[in-house]
């Protein structure tokens, strides 16, 4: 059986950062305590000229730099985000044009809170498996918005990752994928509203933990694996607490989780979060390594993946684009004032 899976990948994280203390000072809160509680010390902020389209293009270009595929051989582009720049007009065509993949192309923008990017990976996988396309490009990216003073302001961040899926020179094979979804109103943003609303404590047990746990368990049942079979596990990371608790529930160790846990340094990149974590793991993975990744999208659902790194990764030109940790370390701190200006908080209805 031919492997179908990741042929290349790339990330993109804006270099501006704001510290939890800086945010807390403005609202008279205890920054150190909040940072410790969430496990997020600082978060990435998009510059005034960065949005989901620019982050997606840069991530896709980084993925293309690391392989030798002709962009014209990309047959589908799916972009998952909660912050597509237009409500009507796809981000995917902007990306398609900017990487030279148009016009023989299936394109759609996906939306399923923070799991729309992994839904894109599944659809590219299916298209390749069905023989409809040679390569598919799936991207999860966001410039997450939080209302000023809302608890989400400490985590809502910007970033994304792009994955090229195919069946030639696969560096990480997708062995199995499984999804779990129910109607759960834990977090939402109504049409035409700028900021999301969330169900407070309701976002934990019946939402994140129920879906991530069931998706991961059912996937492992399908793959006939147990947590011990994996070198790494990546879970959606709205904060550092949730994925660590999830690891405990499922029986994964801190060591399996830590390499893919990037939320502490950049915040929650929403649709980008689990995929940036996976990219971070692929940055250090060796042939034979096995990875479990489970995303979570409010509303609610989880996509889970059983992935095996192949020998092909030894020949893969990873150094042709920056690693996730390189992007995490390349940063410039800004004040709340600059943050407010750049993220359009000063916008008045």
């Amino acid at each position: 059986m031919t492997d179908i899976g990741i042929v290349s990948y790339g990330g993109s994280i804006p270099r501006l950062r704001i510290k939890a203390e800086e945010l807390a000072d403005v609202w008279g809160k205890d920054g150190t305590r909040i940072a410790k509680g969430l496990g997020i010390a600082e978060k990435s902020v998009p510059s005034i000229d960065q949005d989901t389209a620019t982050i997606s293009v840069e991530a896709a270009r980084n993925a293309l730099k690391r392989c030798h595929i002709n962009p014209q051989d990309i047959g589908s582009i799916y972009i998952g985000s909660e912050s597509h720049p237009y409500a009507v007009k796809p981000t995917g065509t902007i990306v398609g044009e900017a990487i030279g993949a148009t016009p023989d192309l299936m394109v759609a923008d996906y939306e399923f809170a923070c799991k729309a990017g992994t839904a894109g990976v599944q659809n590219c996988f299916s298209n390749v498996k069905a023989g409809l396309i040679k390569y598919g490009l799936a991207i999860g990216a966001d410039t997450a918005q939080a209302a000023p003073g809302d608890a989400l302001e400490f985590s809502a961040a910007a970033g994304g990752a792009a994955f090229i899926i195919g069946n030639e020179k696969v560096i990480a094979a997708i062995n199995h994928t499984y999804s779990y979804a129910t109607d759960t109103p834990d977090f939402w943003r109504r049409a035409e509203q700028k900021y999301p609303r969330h169900g407070g404590r309701f976002t934990g047990e019946p939402a994140y933990f129920k879906h991530v746990t069931n998706a991961s368990k059912n996937l492992m049942e399908k793959a006939k694996t147990t947590p011990k079979d994996y070198d790494y596990a990546v879970f959606h990371q709205p904060n550092a607490k949730f994925p660590l608790k999830e690891a405990k529930i499922l029986g994964f160790t801190k060591e399996q989780i830590k390499p893919g846990l990037k939320v502490s340094y950049i915040g929650n990149t929403y649709s980008g979060a689990s995929l940036v974590g996976l990219a971070g793991v692929l940055d250090i993975a060796k042939p034979g390594d096995r990875i479990l990744m489970t995303s979570y999208g409010s509303g609610a659902g989880s996509d889970s993946f059983d992935i095996t790194v192949t020998d092909e990764i030894s020949k893969y030109e990873r150094d042709k684009a920056p690693l996730i940790d390189d992007m995490i370390n390349d940063k410039e701190y800004i004040s709340y004032g600059v943050y407010a200006k750049y993220t359009d908080l000063l916008y008045w209805e």
Partner: protein, 135 residues
């Protein structure tokens, strides 16, 4: 201000992918692309070949904009530089991801995909290239 959507649309290839052209007679590279080569004139007719530029270059000179046009007011102060591209052409572009006091003539830069401007909060968004320092 390009509040002209059709004009922007026609220029997408050069704005997104730095597509220029090259004279088949003398090998000079043009960006933005030209109908014919001003050196070879009739000799270059039908020999102007489309090429994608690497987006790599060097800062020749720069200035800091302190009073920008309306659409750029929120970005001041920001640097605008003349960049000599690897392939030869010189272009003017904004420099990003670089503190103003760290800018230098001769600095190596590369292009990055950014939002250039938008027609207010309801109009079209125009994307294109800006340049950032290469580490």
């Amino acid at each position: 201000m390009p509040k002209d959507v059709p004009r922007f649309w026609r220029e997408i290839q050069q704005r997104y992918n730095m597509k220029g052209n090259k004279c088949g007679s003398c090998d000079r590279v043009y960006f933005p692309p030209r109908e014919s080569c001003p050196y070879c004139r009739r000799e270059s007719m039908g020999k102007m070949e489309k090429i994608k530029l690497s987006g790599k270059g060097e800062i020749i000179t720069y200035t800091i904009i302190h009073v920008g046009p309306e659409e750029f007011e929120e970005q001041v102060p920001y640097p605008v530089a003349i960049i000599q591209l690897e392939e030869g052409p010189k272009i003017t572009a904004q420099i990003v991801d670089c503190k103003i006091d760290e800018l230098k003539i001769g600095m190596k830069v590369e292009s990055e995909f950014r939002k250039i401007q938008q027609d207010g909060s309801t109009g079209a968004i125009y994307y294109g290239y800006k340049f950032k320092p290469v580490e």
